[in-house]
Amino acid sequence: MRSSILLFCKRHHLLDISAYLVLMVGGILLLLKGAEDQGYYWQWFRIPKFLYHFEDGRFIAGPILEGLKITLNITWISLILTYIIGLVTALMRLSNSLLARGVARTYLEITRNTPLLVQIFFMYFVIAPILDIDRFTAGVLALSLFEGSYASEIYRAGIVAVNKGQWEASYTLGLGTYQNYRYIILPQAIRRILPPLTSQAISLIKDSSLVSVIAIYEMTMNANEIASETFLVFEIFFTIAAIYLALAITLSQVVAYFEKRYRVVS
């Protein structure tokens, strides 16, 4: 253990590590000083009850954890949809069909070049009544379509980066286009684009807070309400920021593990 710490220090230059620590401690002190100068009265002790409490020995989730549940629901459904929409759009853009390319291109330009907030409103007030869908579905759809357009560009980059010789080799062996994608091209592309796809997932987690504008009571919405009722602005928002941070870091660690495991030796 000791020797591994020593090795770590040696490898990363003691100076670098000290500089990092000084920067972090300095940042935190600055933050505390700023709050103190404003005469902010920290009341962290009031926070736990918004997270959870016990009633007759039973665990009861507070508004923040209730909101987290909604946030997680929105996120995982949107994430799956995002990856599907992204892949389909990428394949459409790479196909020979003019129609498919045109549709994909139009979708891409519209969703990437307008604000997500506007898209959520549009989905809820214009599309939802037509399709008769509830606000949760509308929010999930808006999010997925928005993130899907970015994901599609990631897929496309990954697919295009696979050596042309791979296509030729599998065509020569008699594989069709579907088999080619399924067994040769995508397995190689996915390994390369795992890191940017993870960033996309993290964006999605954070962007999920925007669906609060159509009154979906996810974590940020609930936090906002508590903050305006109790004036515990810093405490509440630091708390949910920490939760978002924990979610994002967990996700990237899981992906990093898979990335290591399925790395292509090349």
Binding site: E168, A169, Y171, T172, L173, G174
Partner: protein, 250 residues
């Protein structure tokens, strides 16, 4: 050169032309017929259209004019025909193009299972036999990146043979190899020729062309300059251009 028996024409190429999108003319009015069991070697300076010709034969490039018939099937826009021809024509590339995410064994079994609909067991048996044939059976479970260039190319040959093709095409199969590895790949190609495989070979290995080929075609600017049996071609070329080329490389 030998008392080799040839069959009927398996490949009929009738005055094909190909111009690339950038305006480069790769093939001009090129015709040739290839018989079963014949080994045809294409030689010529780079950019003369040799590789393009091979790539047209299995539809990797589309021809603009003329026609190609392989084993009685017309190569046209019909997807089914094209797939059928690709099953019958194996191809070995300069840069091997093995699938880096699959083991050597899976490189060879994948298309057998997907295209020839063989069971996993059958495909693996076939793969192991072919790996033995190209002297590399002990590497069945490693990944391509762990092999030398010569070993990779031998695996690529085994992969193509696993489809039981009627024609094998070699597109500068030894050009990317270190000199000491060229021999082992040529050896495999010679054995194939001796077994009666129909082969179309683009190569700069004149030794191989002299020793193994039944017919040599010299190309330049997408056209046939001269052709003939290996004996005739190397010892008694007629055209000045051919003489010049041979004097430069021999």
């Amino acid at each position: 050169m030998s008392a080799k028996q040839f069959g009927d024409y398996i490949i009929r190429v009738d005055s094909i032309g190909k111009t690339f999108d950038n305006g480069v003319v790769a093939l001009k009015n090129f015709s040739t017929n290839i018989r079963r069991s014949e080994v045809v070697v294409l030689i010529g300076p780079s950019g003369s259209g040799k590789s393009t010709f091979l790539r047209c034969l299995n539809g990797l490039e589309e021809i603009d004019t003329g026609s190609i018939i392989v084993d009685g099937i017309l190569l046209d826009d019909n997807k089914k025909n094209r797939l059928e021809i690709r099953k019958e024509v194996g191809m070995v590339f300069q840069h091997f193009n093995l699938f880096p995410h699959l083991s050597v064994l899976k490189n060879i079994t994948l298309a057998q299972m997907l295209v020839r609909k063989k069971s996993k067991g059958e495909a693996e048996d076939e793969a192991m036999q072919l790996l033995q044939k190209v002297n590399i059976a002990e590497k069945a479970n490693v990944f391509p990146s762990q092999l030398s260039g010569g070993q990779q190319q031998r695996v690529a040959i085994a992969r193509a043979l696993a489809m039981k093709p009627k024609v094998m095409m070699f597109d500068e199969a030894t050009s990317a190899l270190d000199p000491e590895m060229i021999g082992e790949v040529l050896e495999v190609m010679k054995n194939l020729a001796n077994e009666g495989m129909t082969m179309v070979v683009v190569t700069h290995e004149m030794g191989f062309a002299k020793e193994v080929s039944d017919w040599v075609i010299f190309m330049e600017d997408g056209m046939k300059v001269e052709e003939g049996t290996a004996d005739h071609f190397f010892s008694d070329p007629k055209m000045d251009r051919t003489k010049l080329f041979l004097s430069q490389i021999l």
